[in-house]
């Protein structure tokens, strides 16, 4: 039987590595993945607490997102409804059926229509949670799962993200630690992890930067809690 492509390729790769100490090589690989040590984390990624929150707001704003701090979850429905009316958007949102978001007192804004589930093609606005917010570049981290379908991050024109201020971390590495901390036997690495930094954009026409390519044209972030209190 002809050699499989897999065996052929791996055979060449092993041949090229024939001078290495095989036991040591395998041990090095296993150890690196098990320990997953951090490489250099820039100083600006090592902020924590109120400093990290400040940097997150500064960097996210620089990436053309908007950020609003609200004192508690009860204020979220009002912040969402006010944002919609300020942008002349219909009073209707598609919300990820996440336990925390579903528990918010949406009925305090009776004119706001709240639908749950993955994005439908004609949904204009989504509201989703995020697992973490990374200060170093103003980046949100979301993960897929029953309460947070991925389409909500991409199909609607406007994406509103709600997360507690305690989830603002300094670096991508901090965010991975948060994700790993939530792993269980049944649910570990999710199908999709998204890093989102500002609304979608393109510079494909004459190198002219333009917002709103295929993903949302607006990204609004609601940080819930006291942004000035020292955390962590």
């Amino acid at each position: 039987m002809a050699e499989s492509a897999r065996d052929g390729i791996l055979g060449i790769l092993r041949g090229a590595a024939r001078d290495r100490d095989e036991a040591a090589a395998r041990a090095a690989v296993a150890e690196r993945v098990k320990g997953h040590p951090r490489n250099l984390v820039p100083a600006r990624g090592q902020d924590a607490g109120a400093k990290a929150v400040d940097r997150f707001i500064q960097m996210a704003t620089a990436s053309a997102a908007t950020v609003e701090v609200v004192p508690n979850g009860a204020r979220v429905p009002h912040a969402v409804a006010d944002y919609l009316s300020a942008h002349n958007l219909p009073s209707r949102v598609r919300v990820g059926p996440d336990a925390d978001l579903s528990a918010l007192p949406w009925d305090r804004r009776p004119t706001l229509e709240v639908l749950y589930g993955p994005a439908a093609p004609d949904d204009l606005v989504s509201v989703t949670p995020a697992l973490a917010a990374v200060a170093e570049t103003g980046t949100l981290m979301t993960r897929s799962g029953p309460g947070h379908p991925t389409t909500l991050n991409f199909l609607p024109n406007t994406h509103i993200v709600v997360l507690p201020v305690e989830r603002v971390v300094g670096s991508y590495e901090d965010a991975w630690d948060m994700l790993r901390a939530g792993f269980t036997e049944a649910a570990e690495f999710p199908r999709t992890v998204n890093f989102i930094t500002g609304p979608s954009r393109t510079a494909d026409i004459e190198q002219t930067p333009q917002l709103h390519a295929h993903g949302p044209g607006r990204l609004h972030i609601l940080l819930v809690g006291d942004a000035t209190a020292p955390q962590g």
Partner: protein
């Protein structure tokens, strides 16, 4: 994609006579290097991160077999499939079969240079599938039936008027006299049109910027969000990528991501970085039901363990071409194949053969700019020189060039004579070129000066300077 790398000299002449291209390149060479410089200046650790990036990729390449096996095992453990392709033809066959098995009629695609490399679209279309590129630049090129001219800014050579004409020609369902004067008009039209394609597609094909052994994840980096709609909405997600992209851990990929956007577009971070791991999970409300990764070799494994291995560190950021004076002068199409610029001059001969692509490593001024910006410190000029030597050994250069090099070699081996000769030549050139500081024309060097100016020597020869400096430090 079919190569015209052998016709590089003719391609160059055509490029130099193309006013639209020259206009686009003037904007390009002012914009991209400036944006990178700004982003790099804002991150004091950038140079140290480049060292780390190099180290991570070197480690991954030294254990490539082991990390690929681990990556494969983790994809399979999460319900995905891994396919291996030795050649471009095998890669096309695998993807075509996966599309057929999925009962596909329509396929959307995120940007993938490996897909260009293996000529995937032609093969899928020949089999009767509708294939839609969804990156705005790639979509424009697809309707123009053109190849990308840059690895991250594929339609950089076009004007908005050209694109508007193409949209009027192809989108005949829209009123002919609609407004398409601004980039925003063009973008809006494309967004609306492609939205339907995303929703109708049966299969979504993306590339990958990185593969992660630890988790079995594939990673894409985009600004438009097209890759995410491509891979989230259809029932089947196929990732077409190549074997050198695997890195050990999430921490390692984080370091490389800090380098990628800053080097490529000068952004702090791209808008979307997406990690895909297997198909949708029980309880998930969306996402693909099937997940396939096609690992393409196509000449890469043969570079491992050779003096060319370092090129496998490449993360395809495009910084080398963004800073290359040759690319700035002729653009990407002149190179004649998928990868232009300095990285193309090193990679294309490896994949196409030195006979087809031998001109490319010769199209260099050896100014060293590419190496000075490469985030993973690939010594591109050294590797180009290596191809030149190979070409010389293989006797592929014209006789006059071989004779010239031999004469040079004879002098170079006799330092006293070489020094004297160089001093004479330099004094003469210095006198003759004093007024402008460079030459637009030089006898016997028409091959050089027909495309660029030759700087007039100022002062003493390198050997003289070196000797006097040595005297100063040690004497």
């Amino acid at each position: 994609m079919k190569s015209t790398a052998h016709a590089f000299p003719e391609n160059v002449s055509a490029a130099l006579r193309d006013p639209q291209l020259n206009k686009a390149l003037a904007k390009f060479k002012a914009g991209f290097p400036q944006r990178r410089a700004t982003a790099v200046a804002a991150l004091p650790e950038f140079e140290a991160l480049r060292d780390e990036g190099k180290r991570i990729k070197d480690h991954a390449l030294a254990h490539l077999d082991l990390y690929l096996e681990m990556f494969e095992a983790n994809v399979v453990a999460r319900g995905g499939h891994v396919h291996w392709a030795r050649t471009a033809a095998e890669a096309r066959e695998i993807v075509l079969k996966l599309c057929r098995d999925a009962g596909a009629r329509m396929v959307t695609k995120g940007k993938s240079m490996v897909s260009e490399e293996v000529g995937l679209n032609t093969a899928l279309e020949a089999a009767g599938l509708e294939v839609v590129e969804t990156d705005l630049g790639e979509y424009i090129l697809q309707i123009r039936k053109e190849a990308p001219s840059h690895i991250i800014a594929p339609a950089l050579h076009l004007s908005k008027e050209q694109v508007a004409d193409d949209f009027r020609r192809i989108h005949t369902h829209l009123p002919h006299d609609r407004q398409l004067t601004e980039p925003a008009d063009i973008l809006t039209e494309a967004r609306v049109l492609l939205r339907d394609k995303f929703l109708q597609a049966d299969v979504g094909i993306t590339g990958a910027n990185f593969l992660i052994a630890e988790t079995g994840s594939t990673v894409i980096v985009t600004n438009e969000g097209n890759g995410d709609l491509t891979q989230t909405l259809p029932k089947t997600h196929i990732v077409l990528t190549s074997i050198e992209k695997v890195v050990p851990t999430l921490e390692d990929v984080s370091t490389l991501l800090r380098l990628l956007a800053r080097s490529a577009t000068g952004q702090e971070f791209s808008t979307y970085t997406t990690f895909s791991t297997g198909p949708r999970r029980p309880g998930d409300l969306d996402g693909p039901e099937a997940f396939h990764v096609v690992l393409v070799d196509n000449g890469r494994s043969a570079l491992l363990g050779t003096e060319m291995q370092e090129v496998l560190r490449c993360i395809r950021c495009g910084a080398c071409m963004n800073h290359c004076p040759v690319y700035h002068a002729v653009g990407g199409h002149a190179y004649g194949w998928v990868y232009p610029g300095p990285i193309g001059a090193v990679v294309d001969p490896a994949i196409l053969g030195i006979k087809e692509a031998g001109h490319l490593p010769n199209a260099s001024t050896f100014c060293g700019k590419c190496e000075s910006v490469c985030p993973v410190r690939i010594p591109l000029p050294k590797l180009m020189r290596h191809w030149r030597e190979k070409e010389f050994e293989a006797n592929l250069q014209p006789a006059w060039m071989r004779q010239g090099l031999k004469t040079w070699a004879w002098f170079a081996k006799r330092p006293a004579l070489y020094g004297a000769g160089a001093r004479v030549a330099m004094a003469a050139l210095g006198l003759a070129g004093r007024r402008r500081g460079r030459f637009g024309m030089l006898p016997l060097a028409g091959g050089w000066t027909s495309q660029r100016d030759f700087p007039a020597p100022q002062g003493r020869t390198f050997q003289d300077l070196y000797a006097s400096r040595k005297g100063r430090t040690h004497g």
